[in-house]
């Protein structure tokens, strides 16, 4: 990109071309109206976020709880109250098809730190912050806008022109977030499809990433999934900050599990995860440190 692309017209054109859908965060932490205020406070503290959308069982947006609401809750000693009594219900929202320029105007007008993205039925689709917009615009400026929109989420492994066939995807995984578990693997799968990887290898990679992602969701605080795709192989790295594995050989044994009853109700935690990964990956390497975390590296040769 030339420096001239950094001019105001370029940014303006981008902000009208890009939609909220392009920049919003899909993996949103949400709570229900009958959750307690203290739960929201803890999540905000641990995740360092400043607001949480409140949805009902159908996924409809009912309110937002922000740091301001929490402060009010602390002052009035209402941490054990349900969120429904403290949450803000007069919401400024935005639709996925609205332009980034529309979002910018709303941020300027209402001075909110985030806008919930909803569809026509008031179902929560994601959230957008001014930071998302800045990040996206910077990305676009750096890379030019001629790329396929889909591939904007993906960065080439190497800036080197010759290595442009190599692609890396990185997706965060939230520990304990069972509602969204599988999303990271879904994203990787979509990219593999887009790249034209054959269906057998896509399925292998999907199973490996999904089982590994579930392990992070079940056992760890947080983690990330990195997939590197070259013409020869798919390399999947899943690393987490979590309890670690004391005895890797034992953990690899089919049927060995330390998962809770709740996890079992979801159809997981039967001690088949690592065994499954081993079955489908062509190469598997596990490293773990108790009390710190685990790193899994699996390869599928194309």
């Amino acid at each position: 990109m030339q420096n001239s692309s950094l001019n105001f017209e370029f940014i303006e054109k981008l902000s009208t071309d890009l939609t909220v859908h392009d920049i919003m965060t899909n993996d949103v932490i949400t709570l229900k109206p009958d959750n307690k205020v203290k739960n929201a406070k803890e999540i905000m503290r641990l995740r360092k976020i400043s607001g949480i959308p409140i949805i009902n069982n159908s996924g409809e947006l009912k309110g937002i709880i922000s740091i301001d609401d929490i402060i009010r809750g602390l002052e009035e000693n209402r941490l054990n109250d349900e969120l429904r009594v403290l949450m803000s219900t007069e919401l400024i929202t935005i639709h996925p098809d609205d332009s980034v320029a529309d979002a910018l105007r709303k941020f300027k007008k209402y001075k909110y730190g985030r806008l919930p993205v909803i569809d026509k039925d008031n179902l929560l689709l994601g959230i957008v912050t001014p930071g998302d917009i800045t990040r996206k615009l910077l990305e676009e400026v750096e890379r030019g806008s001629e790329d396929d929109e889909f591939f904007l989420q993906i960065k080439p492994l190497d800036k080197n022109e010759e290595d442009k066939d190599n692609i890396q995807i990185e997706v965060e995984i939230e520990g304990g977030d069972f509602n969204n578990s599988g999303q990271a693997s879904s994203k990787v799968k979509r990219v593999l499809k887009e790249l034209g990887v054959d269906s057998v290898n896509i399925r292998k990679a999907a199973i490996v990433t999904y089982e590994a992602e579930m392990n992070v969701v079940i056992h760890a605080r947080q983690g990330r999934l990195i997939a590197e795709i070259t013409p020869e192989l798919i390399k999947i790295i899943v690393e987490d900050e979590g309890p670690g594995i004391e005895d890797i050989d034992l953990a690899m044994q089919p049927g060995y599990s330390t998962a809770s009853e709740h996890v079992r109700e979801l159809g997981f935690g039967a001690g088949m995860g690592l065994a499954n990964i081993e079955q489908w990956a062509d190469d598997l390497h596990l490293e773990s440190e108790v009390g710190k975390g685990t790193k899994l590296e699996a390869k599928i040769y194309l």
Binding site: A206, G267, M272
Partner: protein
Amino acid sequence: MKLRDIKEITKSEVILGKDKLDLEISVVCGADLMSDVLTFSAENTLLLTGLTKPQVIRTAEMLELSAIIFVRGKKPNEQTVQLAKESGIPLLYTEKPLYETCGRLYEAGLKSDKLKGE
């Protein structure tokens, strides 16, 4: 065998995907344990399960399963249905238990896929 015929044989009702009853099914997998399902890998697979959590849909999505029938009269919640809608996976349910549902289909000529390594 078409999903339409399977619906009749298993006495199922359609929850989602009325327009997809012409799908061709060649393999059936019956399990409540998603990790067991994840050891399967075949085209045109139908899943029979008593588990109705969204994780079932995710699993189906990963394996590109063709359709799901919930057994024992269980119906999925809205979150599960919504996820299936996004993934385009047809959902059915039957009052019959898993064993009988499997048996009816096996008898009708749908043999299960062999587990890898068997």
